[in-house]
């Protein structure tokens, strides 16, 4: 019986570790194999406090959380300078450095000898002694951790995390400070792992560095991957499966000298096989979608049917000065890549409330111009002014927050999020994107979410994708994806919209639909700049065209005039 309780305690322990690591790996796409380090920091912090200062269980937990959270923030900063494969190596580094500290900082940690005699916890005067009492404590704490993680992942904060996982560039272009989100999620995940460490230290009453090795980090990773990344329930399942499966070795009379190695082989093999045959894990992100996040909050606010929400009030610009004023002004922008000058002294203006076409041959610098204006590329020289304010050199998310939104040729949708979430995440100024607000949600936050939901649905209606709202974005057809990209752009409420070839790759009939939508934008107070290859498309859309060649604006005027100029036509057609 005690044995079964012990197994159950282990499952609860790895459920906490799995759920917290899932926040990093599954939700944010941060592959940092250092979770055992946070686990260990929590364990050591609370053990040292209990042994030397006589602090109780809850105080130890609090300190462990703070230390692990701080370490999470400190390591997140260098780690986040690199992404993907390189983050893995940097996180391995953190893991090994923390392990070295536990092993070699003899004065404090006693190295290999470890810390024995950690007192059993006392809660409200009630001392926990029997395994079943422990199990109860583990279950309660694990339940709290899962509840917390779930609350976080279902908030606007969690939505941004997923967007970062899907496409960092697009997330920045929506005005999100992705570094802030990544640091915070590191802090939260580290803190939750520290909670597990605290529980563990007081349960086993003896800790040494070998409980917090690289192998342990990999095991936690296996819990998340086998269970299913991006789904908290998956991590609970993963914890159960990976704890129980090797326990069966006990009954197979495997000699103890090799049982450890066989256990490792099982984990390794599971990783390989799951990657090959079931990369989404046992219980993956989209395995079941019982309650699409939007629908529920929709029901929660009766009387606020989305149809009541008119688009117009949502998208009224803050101030509408006389139309025709330059909203954006670009002066002498120059950008070279090695020897290639993509932009060479480019100057242009975008008058408020108009649609300006940006045309020119391939390599003329059209997309580069967008990249520099929106802060994704620093210019070598020149200035960008928006509403008369200099914005050159601002980071992409700051540019976006000022009201400049851009689309991408390759769309950069959040592929594994729903259509609705793609649009919802773009909404500006969501208070639920702050960590504290994500966890503590009052009535106002719910109202705000409902309003954003209404707006998102209205934009989906605008591009006629409402019926697809709960579909996963990657399941949309290509024309639908282009419409979704437009809806996401509009949902930012940006006043200046930079559209990078919104009609490319569409069939002639759908091109017409797209143009009809774009044509409506100025009357909603938008200023539009559109990169387009097809001159006929431009003709039907705008009265003003800027012709780019060699990174320079060589002509500006009505489409007809530009097309009538034989010299420009020669450049355009490469003659």
């Amino acid at each position: 019986m005690d044995y079964l309780v012990h197994v159950a305690i282990n499952i609860a322990l790895y459920a906490i570790l799995g759920v917290s690591f899932n926040l990093l790996l599954g939700y944010t796409g941060l592959f940092a194999v250092s979770h055992a380090a946070f686990f260990g920091i929590g364990a050591y912090a609370s053990a040292l406090l209990a042994l030397h200062a006589g602090w109780g269980f809850l105080w130890g937990m609090a300190l462990g959380i703070v230390v692990a959270g701080l370490v999470g923030a400190v390591i997140a900063l260098p780690a986040l300078r690199v992404s993907g494969d390189y983050l893995v190596i940097v996180s391995f580094g953190l893991q090994i450095i923390v392990f070295s500290v536990m092993l070699n900082w003899q004065d404090v940690t006693r190295g290999v000898a470890g810390l024995p005699g950690i007192p059993r916890p006392t809660l409200l005067g009630w001392k926990l002694t029997t395994p079943s009492q422990y199990l109860l404590l583990f279950l309660v704490v694990a339940g709290l951790c899962v509840w917390l993680a779930r609350r976080l992942t279902r908030s606007p904060f969690g939505r941004v995390l997923k967007a970062i996982r899907e496409d960092e560039v697009a997330t920045q272009a929506l005005g999100k400070n992705i570094t802030r989100f990544k640091v915070l999620v590191f802090v939260v995940a580290g803190a939750l792992a520290a909670v597990a460490g605290n529980l563990y230290a007081h349960y086993v009453t003896f800790i040494n560095p070998f409980s917090f090795t690289l192998e342990e980090s990999i095991f936690i990773m296996a819990v998340v991957i086998v269970g299913g990344a991006g789904n908290l329930w998956g991590s609970l399942l993963g914890a159960a499966v990976l704890v129980i499966m090797p326990e069966s070795l006990r009954f197979l009379q495997v000699p103890p000298t090799v049982s450890g190695a066989i256990r490792q082989i099982i984990y390794g093999l599971l990783l390989v096989l799951f990657m090959r045959f079931r990369p989404q894990g046992l219980w993956g992100e989209h395995a079941a979608r019982p309650a699409a996040p939007g629908r529920r909050s929709l029901e929660a606010t009766p009387g606020e049917s989305w149809r009541a929400a008119e688009l117009a009030p949502v998208s009224t610009p803050a101030a509408v000065p006389a139309s025709g004023q330059p909203l954006l002004e670009v002066r002498g922008l120059t950008k070279a890549f090695g020897g290639i000058r993509a932009l060479s002294n480019l100057s242009l203006t975008l008058p408020q409330g108009t649609i300006t076409g940006l045309i020119g041959p391939n390599g003329a610098g059209k997309t580069t111009a967008f990249n520099v204006i929106t802060g994704f590329l620093p210019p070598d020289a020149g200035a960008v002014r928006y509403r008369g304010e200099e914005i050159t050199g601002l980071t992409p998310y700051r540019v976006a927050r000022l009201g400049i939104a851009r689309s991408f040729q390759d769309l950069r949708l959040f592929q594994r999020m729903t259509v609705l979430d793609n649009v919802l995440v773009a909404r500006p100024g969501q208070s639920g994107e702050r960590l504290a607000r994500a966890l503590v949600r009052g009535r106002r936050a719910r109202m705000e979410e409902a309003r954003n939901l209404n707006a998102a649905l209205a934009y989906l209606d605008f591009v006629q994708l409402l019926s697809r709202a709960h579909e996963i974005a990657e399941n949309l057809s290509y024309p639908e994806q282009k419409l979704l990209a437009l809806a996401r752009l509009l949902a930012t409420e940006a006043e200046l919209l930079l559209l990078d070839e919104p009609t490319a790759g569409l069939a002639p009939t759908t091109v017409g639909d797209m143009l009809a939508l774009i044509r409506k934008l100025p009357e909603r107070g938008k200023t539009v700049c559109i990169i387009e290859h097809n001159l006929d498309v431009i003709k039907g859309l705008s009265e003003r065209v800027v012709f780019l060649d060699g990174g320079e604006a060589i002509a500006t005027g009505a489409p007809e005039t530009i097309m009538a100029d034989p010299q420009l036509a020669d450049i355009y057609f490469g003659r």
Binding site: P78, G93, S100, N104, V169, L214, I262
Partner: protein
Amino acid sequence: MDLFAQLLVNGVVAGSLYALVACSFGLILGTTGTFHFAHGVVYAAGAYGAYFAAGLGLPLWAAAGVGIAGAALLGTLIEVVVYRPLRRIAASPLVILIASLGTLIVLENAIAIGFSTDAKVLEGFPRKGIVLGGVGFTTLHVTMVAVSLVLFLGLLAFLRWTRRGKAIRAVANSPEMAEIVGIDTARVFLLVFALGSAMAAPAAILIMLDRGATPDMGMDAILIAAIAVIVGGIGSVPGAALGALIIGLAQNLGVMKIPSEWQAAIAFGVLLLVVILRPRGLVGKKLRRAEI
């Protein structure tokens, strides 16, 4: 001063062995885009292959040959059995990386079961001590540096002047373009895995001759190699060698100020410094960043 010179020599010896693993890992990463963690266990398998062959009574040079051939075979086998099917279903780099880590764990523990986790020493190298200007080292250390240098220069020459070497560089530059001009990328990948594996194995065998080998030697080696590649700059074979040398020197010279048990942490300290100060690495191209 003697101490400094001694540590300098120790650092070069360690760095030259790191360089073998780092260059071969960097070659595989740069050409195939595979973050080949399992390279660590391929390296270890080279040592254990040689140990096994020597146990059958083969002379040392023949046993080393068996180890190297075995490593090459294992490396290509992993490419064919693990990576190729994943590439065919267009798995993300992350998925491939996890599978590679899994492969490393499985094979490392298989070696542990087959040979036990005790350190195994390969006997029979005619080792003699040399003292030169107050610095002591052995003929084995000289062999280590020599083998490393020969293999490193050989690899550079191969990549530069042979037809196949050029094909490797072409694929590293752009697999799509290489396909278009008629290079069979799948075969080039196999070649790179065979070559890289054969290059890493001697380092493990030399370590086994010196202070003995354990089944988990591969994990440490691959971490150092990955750090060296990032420090040197991804996509550059000389960069990887330079990174390896820097880490070898930093770890050994660090002993003057920092107790030796912190060596592993020193390597990662170097990495963190480079990542913060010069994220593109010392030699190579930019770190892969989200491209616009």
